[in-house]
């Protein structure tokens, strides 16, 4: 049905295009001078049909599921839903849907089968309605567009206005995305703080997001203090920076000043290769190679090292960040004007002295901006830590212990089935909110530094 509606829309669009084009053509053939080219008359009709009808269809499809679900559920006989939580309701809905698809497991109650039939009927009605709406609207718009074909009709301006509108819409999507992130995070975080006090979250030193399965269970209360989680994040970030900053920086210094052009041509793409490796690959590398290596090295010098140390996760994250920092530093060093290099060399500085005493200090703001962006990357990096760091939150800064991070907790809390009404799920959103805020502040700050720095030498 949906496919049919889409096909109908496409046909209507093409039809509208040719209808108007031919109409305009016939005016032109009569020897009159059209304001706009015939193809613009065609395009005008096509866009007039396509844009509004497609918008309506997409909205329909996006909202249809929700509405059908609630109609189905509200039509259930009284009493069958009593005492069901959100999870239970979702299960019942899922069962009704699978029955409606003909996938029947066991013997469902009669009211479920009835609901399934109603669901099917509702779906069909909805699809039918959509088809009719598409058809009627298309015809109406085509007729309207056709009536506009006249000698003096400014079809080009019409088309350009529509195209402008579309382009503005495209630009606004980015804003909507940000708004979507902020609203969804705020909304779920607000619900989380209804269940768990803000104070406990911000200043609690215990993170034990277990949720009782039954109300009468012992240790029913989970603890949601995020301090150990953010501490673990900081530990891993620091380890990553300890690896990435010196290696990245010295690589950039070598590339920028000492590498012969041919060597540079080889090294740069290879470093970019390192940057293109997906993080899930780094995560696997951490558990396959780095963690066992650190562990066996630790044992050989008599240290007891956890299998998922902050050192392994942070170290691998550091490797991931090397190309990031080196390319930022390289750009910053290259942005220092040639005049300053000449000035230093002309006074008899060696290349090394020029680098350390003139170029590096001059490029420092740009480099700091790059390092800050790397910090934000490290804090937000997910796969490496999900695979290689621990799950238990500890208040420790020892990189040889296993620590957990904000992103690890978000993923573990949300993996598997999630219901939106328990603190465990909502806690992930609260963590996500904090993650978003922290990285946003760092990013704004870093981007500002970088931009200021670029302006200084432009």
């Amino acid at each position: 049905m949906t496919t049919l509606a889409f096909l109908l829309l496409i046909v209507a669009t093409i039809f509208g295009y040719f209808l108007n084009r031919i109409a305009a053509r016939s005016i032109w053939n009569r020897g009159e001078r059209l304001h706009s080219l015939t193809s613009y008359h065609g395009l005008f009709s096509a866009l007039m049909v396509l844009v509004p009808v497609l918008t309506i269809m997409l909205f329909w499809l996006a909202l249809e599921g929700r509405i059908l679900d609630s109609l189905t559920m509200s039509g259930l006989p009284d009493g069958v839903l009593d005492g069901q939580g959100t999870g239970g309701l979702q299960l019942i809905l899922a069962e009704i849907k699978s029955v409606s698809r003909g996938q029947i497991f066991g013997t469902p109650e009669d009211w479920k089968i009835a609901a399934a039939d109603r669901y099917i009927a509702l779906t069909r009605t909805s699809n039918m309605l959509m088809l009719i709406v598409v058809a009627v609207l298309s015809v109406a718009i085509i007729a309207f567009a056709r009536s506009r074909v006249r000698v003096d009709f400014r079809a080009r301006q019409g088309v350009e206005r529509i195209v402008s509108g579309l382009m503005i819409f495209c630009s606004v999507v980015a804003i909507f995305t940000t708004l979507g992130i902020i609203f969804s995070l705020t909304f779920e975080t607000y619900r989380f703080f209804e269940k768990v006090p803000v104070w406990d979250f911000l200043f609690g030193v215990n993170w034990e997001p277990q949720i009782p399965i039954r109300a009468d269970q012992i240790a029913a209360e989970g603890a949601f203090g995020w301090l150990p989680v953010i501490l673990g994040t900081i530990v891993i970030t620091v380890v990553a920076l300890v690896v990435a900053v010196p290696v990245g920086l010295f690589s950039a210094i070598y590339l920028n000043e000492f590498a012969p052009p041919k060597v540079r041509l080889v090294i740069k793409p290879v470093l970019e290769l390192l940057a293109g490796v997906p993080t899930v690959v780094y995560g696997f590398f951490a558990i396959l190679v780095v963690a066992p290596a650190i562990r066996s090295f630790g044992q050989s010098i008599g240290l007891d090292v956890a299998p998922n140390t902050a050192l392994a996760a942070g170290g691998v994250m550091g490797i991931m960040l090397i190309p990031f920092i080196s390319s930022f530093a390289d750009d910053a060093l290259s942005a220092v004007p040639q005049a300053l290099r000449d000035g230093a060399l002309g006074l008899g500085a060696t290349r090394g002295e020029m680098m350390t005493t003139v170029l590096f200090p001059a490029a420092l703001p740009g480099i700091v901006g790059g390092v800050l962006l790397a910090v934000s990357r490290a804090i937000g990096e997910t796969m490496i830590v999900v695979m290689a760091a621990g799950l238990i939150a500890r208040m420790t800064i020892n990189p040889l212990e296993s620590v957990t991070t904000v992103t690890v907790q978000i993923v573990t809390l949300l993996i598997g089935d999630t219901a939106f009404d328990n603190p465990k799920t909502l806690a992930a959103f609260a963590l996500g909110m904090m993650l978003f805020l922290v990285t946003l502040i760092i990013n704004i700050f870093a981007l500002r530094i970088v931009r200021k720095y670029r302006e200084a030498y432009d």
Partner: protein
């Protein structure tokens, strides 16, 4: 200019030269040290890349071949009655066939028969069943089938199990090793290229697990990501670069896009979970949601690349077109955009390559489900290449380690291909204005 008259004259240049000469050795040594440290840093980065690739290749290359065994199976009508084919005792038939090849095995001992069957992959009985169901005439005949061996024997055949470790610490017993060697001597064992890696979907058994589901899933995700992010990104970039008035709003959009490009990917996962799945009620684990999410993530990359490409088109071309009376949109769509297209495509491909490797948001929307068939539409549950890697990396069976590395090599292969195309485009259409 008055102060120059009472300025003291220069010191003896001769003494200066001497002073400088004395410092030169130390200073050049310092310079060399900096250079070597830099070279060392690059060496570290390269070594890491080498270890990364080498460890993946060394653990992954074996997974591109799969140990198979050829068994001549007599389809015993007593075990496999024609009237109830799907419930036939295909495992017993196979065990009997195995026993035939290994005369020293005690066919009456159930444990023995079980371990004989254990040499074959768990999938062997199903593939035999499918064959017989498709052609019931086979009942009462002997058919030769070639099936994968189970994971421990695959490992044994690939030399990944040390025969010298004590029996208890090994996944195959001495007796099983002896059987396997006998079978090998008979020429029943072969190790062909592992096509199943690409034609099978996921499975709990490493020897049967393949990437088809993940490849199809990634295909859907990337297609949707492209269909959405490409027009949105280009539209937005053109507007911001060519049409937008320079005011607070366009500044805000610009800052917004730059920041969006740096938002952690897991946050996009949260957005998708709350909005697409939670509010719009879209299906979990579906490529459509994954594609939408990655499209939002890729869009800033495309916008930034497109704006750079548009900026690189010299104003003289715009002026020339405006000069002959084209409207501003005609200038952009007829002249500027085609000229900027190679740059735009390069940026888009690089953005899509990033999207292909993106994992975290897909985990949150449930694209790490265990799914044993490939998705037939973007609304079905599916995995993607990176999430499949995550699932396999999490699996305890030994055979999955090698499979994971192989999957990573496949993923890296695709990424290299995409980047190669991007570089090719850039080289081919690179223009000096």
């Amino acid at each position: 200019m008055t102060d120059i008259t009472n300025a003291p004259g220069p010191r003896s240049p001769h003494r200066t030269t001497e002073l400088i000469a004395g410092t030169l050795k130390r200073r050049h040594a310092k310079e060399a040290r900096l250079k070597w440290i830099g070279l060392g840093a690059i060496g570290i980065a390269f070594t890491m890349l080498f270890i990364l690739i080498a460890s993946l290749v060394s653990s992954g290359w074996q997974a591109f071949a799969q140990t198979h065994i050829s068994v001549a199976v007599y389809i015993d009508p007593q075990e496999v009655p024609a009237e109830n084919l799907p419930r036939g005792g295909f495992d017993d038939v196979l065990a009997a066939a195995m026993a035939q090849m290994l005369p020293d095995a005690d066919t009456d001992d159930r444990a023995t028969m079980r371990s004989l069957n254990g040499i074959l992959s768990n999938g062997a009985q199903f593939s035999l069943r499918d064959q017989v169901v498709a052609n019931p005439d086979l009942i009462g005949q002997t058919v030769t089938i070639k099936v994968p061996v189970s994971d421990p024997f695959d490992q044994l055949n690939k030399g990944l199990i040390d025969r010298d470790t004590i029996e208890q610490n090994r996944r195959v017993t001495d007796r099983e090793i002896a059987w396997f060697d006998t079978l090998k001597d008979q020429g029943a064992i072969s190790k062909p290229f592992n096509w199943a890696l690409f034609t099978n979907a996921d499975s709990r058994f490493p020897e049967l697990a393949g990437l088809k589901g993940a490849l199809v899933g990634s295909f859907w995700v990337l297609s949707i990501c492209f269909i959405i992010s490409f027009p949105l990104g280009i539209g937005s970039a053109i507007y911001l670069e060519e049409f937008a008035p320079k005011n607070k709003l366009s500044d805000f959009i610009e800052v917004n896009i730059n920041n969006l490009a740096a938002v952690p990917s897991v946050v996009f996962g949260l957005l998708a979970l709350a909005v697409f799945i939670g509010w719009f009620g879209m299906p979990r684990s579906a490529p459509i949601v994954g594609g939408l999410t990655l499209a939002l993530m890729t869009m800033p990359t495309i916008i930034i690349a497109t704006r750079a490409a548009l900026k690189a088109v010299p104003p003289s071309i715009r002026e020339a077109a405006l000069g002959v009376g084209a409207s501003k949109q005609q200038v952009v769509f007829h002249h500027v955009l085609p000229l900027a297209m190679p740059g735009i495509l390069t940026g888009t491909i690089i953005g899509l390559a990033q999207a292909l490797g993106e994992t975290a948001p897909l985990l949150l929307i449930g694209m790490n489900a265990f799914i044993t068939s490939a998705a037939s539409s973007p609304f079905d549950s599916a995995t993607a290449l990176p999430t499949q890697i995550f699932i396999w990396a999490d699996s305890p069976e030994r055979g999955f380690v090698s499979r994971t590395s192989a999957a990573i090599l496949v993923l890296l292969g695709f990424l290299m291909l995409m980047n190669a195309v991007a570089i090719y485009l850039r080289q081919k259409f690179q223009r000096k204005w």
